[in-house]
Symmetry: C2
Subunit: 464 residues, 2 copies
């Protein structure tokens, strides 16, 4: 988020950061969340940004760096911090964030920074770096607490005293594991409060730990977290051993990211690499020009199809008038159908096996929608004839042509739009690529054929 | 989610539910999550559903009822349970879920069920019923733990012992309040474990409680939770007194719901009231027919505009050939721009004040995109002339017409698509209504004008 220029508090804080003493700046920074500090820093000229940042304490520097959104601001902050200090900042972050921070360091410095880190934190980062970023391994953090099922509440309290680390944040679960480190259950600190110290963990643990394999895709994890209302999931390796955990706040980010990607794809662009205002205009162009060009070439199909009807068009110019109306109705109904199906697939409400069920529903819906538009379209022809005598004696047959075309093209658009996501998914492609513009283009080419076929059927011998 | 018919475990469980003894059914139900039980129940014939449901214990009945998605299944389960038992089920749910359950009870039974509830739970439900469902009040639950800042860790532990209730779930925060019930901070059960019983709560509490007013809109709350990575927010009344809390799992549902609504609107349909397969076909039609009809009527503008160029069309039929190509390019580029802006607004990345910045970026992007498509379009004319001698001596000027039209319409589509969400928001409407089809329709009408203006400019005296 941008700092809001219309917010007086934010303007005042900005002034203070620009001109206040170091002590004043430190004091005001204390009162802000990392997100707010990041927003303010992004709004400062780079020399001020680089003067203010070192005034934060190390743990806050780590959180603020995570929240800075534009590459330019992040790069300038990182370049202003020496290697040793950067290693310190990374050590202060939880391991999942530490990996992200390390990725932001320019490659030529990265190895030096990692080499300056403490052994334990370095090992965690190096392990997590091996996982693809959009899998459980790439999302998880290593910091977690384990207790053995045979230990007592008192022993668990001692472990918590000894091993709790601010990086664990508002620790959600203490995992109960067996001798092979496989999760058996979980306890929460309230259990340690509410039970006598001599009680065995096994007797009080909750058995509902949900685990995901380290290789699982983030989209799938998000689905599980959403469906089961979880605050965290445990991550296990191929041997079923507990290796990390993923917290719901990271899943919220995944859900947002996936929804944004799907949304952008459905609008006919590739997904942007960052927020709209943070990416350069060159990226706005690059992510859009591919699909626009493909769609234009696809739409060139209408040129060839229309050339087939050159004779009819020359005879009855009025046919050209209705062309945009008719093909856009196909595109609109296709856009509706594909949008509903893509989103239902993303939510897991519709799976590949539901193809026939969806087709049946869409044919039914398409028939009603098509008939409605057919009546409107034919009504328009008859009404204009009544008022303006626009179409002469051909009006009834022209109304029939327009109506029949609308019925046909809406039915076809609805069916094509709803089935394309299935076809894409079956082909191993992303169903969200069945964008409104792609469906509209496919329907346009066939729409021209439907329209002229109707015209030849109803107008031959009269207008044609 | 539907039970997956291709999953052998699910097929086996279904068989057991249909034909197993009550004891067997009870045993297998124990091993499933509420979501899984709900999915299975929805797949059963109603008499079996109504036989199996009473075999669950009361707390599980409450959770399962929450997860059942189709109205038919939920209604059949509710109708199978007598009033007294239904009151019991509602009492076993946390207050936010209790309100939702009460809303699902048919009106003629609702008062009787509420009257059968215990006084405390009834009061909570009746209070929460007063709030609109999409506000903080409608989302929050009343169950929470409060301690006073002056009390000690030992006293807080006693409160936890006495007042903790399974409905609180994995309790996230114990709120520290002053004498007027205003939140001052929060402690977590780990603090109670890690600190000596004589310590004052004030000395150990975290000061970062985030509060939202009871009237705040759910979309705004979701934004706060997302931006600050919160696990819960405290809800306060107009006097700043703590009245409830909202947990992140409910916010995940809100985020999904809002993303789904925006997605569906952007595809040119009204948001569905439930998941795609759970709503009747009549709703699929009802939610789509309005926009389709509006768009068709809007697109009728092209009829009037094209009639203005009847003379030119009659003289040069070839102009009609390029019409779908050109107006679809405008629709596609408009669809891309509106999609990017709507999503950026939903994420809070773009606010009303960013209008000029977005316009500048989109004009720059539109120029590059338009030039690219212009070259492709003009190239196509020249190439076909070269190969097929399709357009005769008019080819160069026709190429110029097509190219200039594409440049103009892509630039216009991009600008219109990016600005429409701003105009809608400024008018107090939902920017997500600037759907791809709506933008395409607006651009189509003006696109016809742009195209024929270019044709008259470049082809007058030759083809025209």
């Amino acid at each position: 988020m941008e700092p809001d220029a219309s917010d007086p508090a934010s303007v005042e804080t900005r002034e203070l950061l620009l001109s206040g003493s170091d002590a004043d700046v430190r004091r005001v920074l204390q009162t802000l969340t990392p997100q707010e500090v990041a927003d303010l820093l992004e709004g400062l000229p780079s020399e001020d940004r680089e003067r203010v940042f070192p005034l934060l304490d190390t743990a806050r520097q780590a959180s603020v760096l995570r929240e800075v959104e534009t590459d330019v601001a992040r790069d300038s902050l990182i370049s202003a911090v020496p290697d040793e200090k950067l290693a310190d900042i990374v050590e202060h972050a939880a391991s999942d964030d530490a990996v992200d921070l390390v990725e932001d360091i320019p490659e030529e410095r990265r190895d030096r920074v990692i080499a300056s880190m403490e052994a334990e934190e370095r090992a965690a980062v190096e392990e997590l770096q091996q996982y693809p970023p959009d899998t459980a391994g790439g999302l998880m953090q290593k910091e977690l607490l384990r207790v053995r099922a045979e230990s007592t509440v008192g022993e668990a309290i001692d472990r918590l005293r000894e091993h709790w680390d601010p990086k664990m944040g508002d620790l959600f679960d203490i995992y109960v594991v067996d001798a092979e480190e496989r999760p058996l259950g979980r306890v929460r600190s309230r259990h340690l409060v509410l039970n006598p110290p001599s009680r065995r963990i096994r007797e009080i643990m909750l058995g509902d730990v949900r685990t995901v394999p380290v290789t699982m895709d983030q989209e799938h994890i998000a689905e599980i977290v959403r469906d089961y209302d979880l605050a965290s999931v445990a991550v296990v390796d191929e041997g079923g051993r507990l290796v990390g955990r993923i917290l719901v706040d990271d899943i919220v980010d995944v859900l947002d990211e996936e929804a944004t990607e799907d949304f952008q794809k459905a609008g006919g662009t590739e997904a942007l690499d960052g927020s709209y205002l943070s990416v350069p205009v060159s990226q706005l162009v690059r992510k859009r020009v591919g699909w626009l060009a493909v769609l234009l070439v696809g739409e060139m199909g209408t040129l060839s199809v229309m050339a087939m009807y050159e004779h009819e068009l020359a005879k009855a110019t009025v046919l050209a008038f209705f062309l945009p109306l008719i093909i856009s109705a196909g595109g609109n109904s296709g856009s509706q159908a594909t949008t509903l199906v893509i989103r239902a697939m993303a939510l897991g409400d519709v799976t590949l096996g539901d193809g026939f069920r969806v087709a049946r529903r869409e044919i039914a819906a398409g028939l009603v929608l098509g008939l409605t538009l057919a009546l409107l379209g034919a009504g328009r022809v008859l009404l204009w004839e009544e008022i303006f005598h626009a179409y002469g004696t051909h009006a009834p047959m022209l109304a029939l042509t327009v109506g029949a075309s609308l019925l046909g093209i809406v039915l076809w658009g609805t069916l094509a739009g709803s089935m394309l996501p299935f076809a894409l998914r079956r082909a191993g492609l992303d169903p969200a690529s069945a964008s409104a513009p792609l469906v509209a283009t496919l329907v346009d080419v066939t729409g021209v054929v439907i329209y002229f076929t109707a015209a030849l059927t109803f107008l031959r011998g009269s207008l044609l």
